[in-house]
Chain length 268, copies 4
């Protein structure tokens, strides 16, 4: 290798520096979990970072496919930097199966308690999506204005941590708080957390990720519709039900391919 | 080829990965259609994706230049990924002429029924443009505030699918719904779809695409003007008519060249 | 040159394709004008495109440095694509000195008439800056909320083309319309154009460009301040005067270097 | 080096041109200061530029780690362009220890007077963060809506330069003005400056930088919550205190690593 080649190589490597830093390293296999599901957690994290739905905080999880009492989630790390090797296995009380000294997300209890309460849920996103937070502190409920957010049904409920836990640092950092959150979520697709963010669930990772994106979008649309000052026609609950029954945005599969391509592009 | 060259090549290819994935492949010719029109559909799709007017959903079509009872549109695919080879031919009832097993857009009927009703229309865009949706659910009409949106005339009508079809999943996925939409469109340039998006027409692809961009922009401007709280001076219908008569934004040709250059750049 | 090198070169050229398309070609010298002034027109156009202040439309001009009855402006072209070779010389009636068949901006009269009326003005920007247009159609005046927009003084006047010219296509495409605009501008730094945009003047190109950027920014800030609903403290005219007298944002020179570096970066 | 290599090198260098221009040059050591602290000032400046919290104006400083009566700050330069070699040492009256003819920020007195008044403060950011300025001119106070902005406590005070200094050019360009600002800041984390911007303090650079980012974000969230029109539940001061006591966003360290990676990427 010549000196010139080395210079060129260094420059080009420099250009793709961020991409390199984020490239996937071979993951330690987790028993009973195929690489595709792990990859979906990674891709979902990066898609949401790419959309600004996740910033330095927040997390994506999936229920373990063969052991429904376990779930999979990254070690504590900014979502944009998650790789397959960062994904860990937890029981539903939030205990790491094989911690190896890695730092854990403080709010992993959100995931465990919802997986306990909702057998239908296979994937969960917790995020601080910017257009949603105003609805978490406002007396005005988040309601569906766009057919892409039919999964909202009539409105998104709000969990106020003060109600059950009094004055706190507002983090859902233990099982009690997480159980209260799961109760407010009930059978719905999402629950706002007052002054904090949102937790979104789905039967697949693309659905939980896609709902996170379209919740954020619906919040922006509703905010703008309110600003216009006229009466607003929200989706009828009957329309919302038909949308979900009809496969809701095609399971987000067409959009997922586009989002993945953008979020995983080497220049990202 | 040396090892060093291979490394360099791999890196540079990586850098242009997304671009490669989106590069045009040689298209199967469609009888009577020249490559320029096909390319305009591709370029128009990517321009609108680049502006955020199209996201994972939405579509651009053109009437067949020699067979006015046919039209051209992509197979079901995120608009940012459309290439010349994805463009298919349809009759005005939405039947694919040569499907070869490809998946079709559910809402292709929008295009067919409007081409039936409006012989002057040669290009159609259906999108979920974010600033427009609030006007589709609000009692406040979308009106022209900027001279670049003179084609709005006095206001954009709103199609509410409930009026003709009752409670649905809100998709214009059959000919009946599409005929109702075409009726509300009437002789205008665009029609809002309640809680869904907009359909925009033109006599060329650059005009339908340019109108889509300036409709979105006008919606943003009007929303902000309303937020200021003072009386608003909208374009006079006489001004709007002169703007359209005068060739409306120069047929968007100067802007089109810029938009195309940006949307088709290899680093996109 | 080896095949491998050719492949690498092609890829890398591809990566910088848009930059190449926009690179400066050697300019035909214009008598009495040094290359630095021409470059400032090019750089100013691209900075404003980079900020979204200019889109496919709008233009930047400079008074001829040795012949004050002439001015310099691009041929009709999207500002992001302007190169030194596109800069032409005009007299103050908008006649091109050496047209060579090039297409001219329809609204070049704006520049000529203002240079006639305002001997202190050496540079002019006409743009469709998005946050400004709402103020051009609203009864609420644009006023200075930020010290970086002290040049606004008490408010920006609004030119309504209807007042002098009646129902038109809203373009300032002749000398009569432009003279009316110059009258409303008076001795100020900027004039809004109802439903259209703004024209901004300065004693240097960085000042006219910098004012265009900070006008847009001030409009956004004022819109948000109004949305808060409380009383607003605008700059006092005495503060505004001291800001302008003190050299107004340091003549924008520190910011100009940053803006230029970003706008002219090869990956742009 | 072959001609081909030279061409390739030139192209690749061109591609990383902006990055090169911004790359760190070896810094002249400042006695008693290790390179990590200098790097944090550089990285903090670029992170804030990357977020749009700093534009062409504003600055980041750190108290001298071994001489508490001195502080470290860049020469007058756009924050996005700051390198280690631009960092200078000042006494708390704003005198440069080793000026070597470099141009100084006019508002360096802000830093000196706050370091005098607040022994707990080790890092300061002064910026013109766009979502904050509306609160600086509005009767509506900036209050915490998100748990990530608990450091606001009940509200951010506003410094109006008119109160102590009368009609000025609004710059805090001498010690008297800066002392008045420090008085309004009191024991808090931030102080708004009417029609100008904000000054933010912290016990580390990541804290002062992170607070600058989350103040901007909280301002956006509060503006949108107000726009919804319903009653708003702000953080309770007891919640805010627990958040700060609990280490406030983990000292911003997880986010800092992500922000740094993005802001220092060679393609930036």
């Amino acid at each position: 290798m010549t000196a010139t080649s080395r210079v060129l190589l260094a420059i080009c490597l420099g250009l793709s520096g961020l991409a390199q830093a984020r490239a996937q390293t071979p993951a330690t296999p987790i028993a009973g979990v195929d690489a595709g599901l792990i990859e979906d957690i990674v891709v979902g994290s990066r898609i949401l970072a790419d959309f600004g739905v996740l910033d330095g905080f927040g997390h994506v999880s999936a229920r373990h496919p063969t052991n429904p009492n376990h779930f999979l989630m990254s070690r504590s790390l900014a979502p944009a930097l998650v790789t397959a090797d960062d994904i860990m296995e937890f029981d539903l009380d939030g205990n790491a199966i094989d911690a190896r000294g890695r730092q854990l997300f403080l709010e992993r209890f959100i995931h465990g308690e919802i997986y306990k309460a909702r057998p239908d849920v296979k994937a969960i996103v917790h995020n601080h999506s910017p257009a949603l937070i105003p609805f978490s502190v406002s007396a005005v409920p988040l309601r569906p204005v766009s057919h892409t957010a039919g999964f909202i049904e009539d409105r998104v409920p709000v969990f106020d941590i003060r109600t059950s836990a009094g004055m706190t640092d507002m983090l859902v950092s233990n099982a009690d708080r997480a159980r209260s959150l799961a109760t407010v979520l009930g059978t719905r697709a999402a629950v706002l957390m007052r002054g904090h963010g949102v937790t979104v669930v789905g039967s697949t990772i693309p659905i939980a990720v896609g709902r996170s994106i379209y919740l954020e979008r619906n919040a922006t649309l509703q905010t703008q519709a309110i600003a216009l000052g006229g009466d607003i026609t929200y989706l009828d609950p009957a329309e919302a039900r038909q949308i979900v029954a009809g496969g809701e945005n095609g399971g987000y599969l067409r959009a997922w391919e586009l989002w993945k391509l953008k979020a995983m592009a080497p220049t990202k």
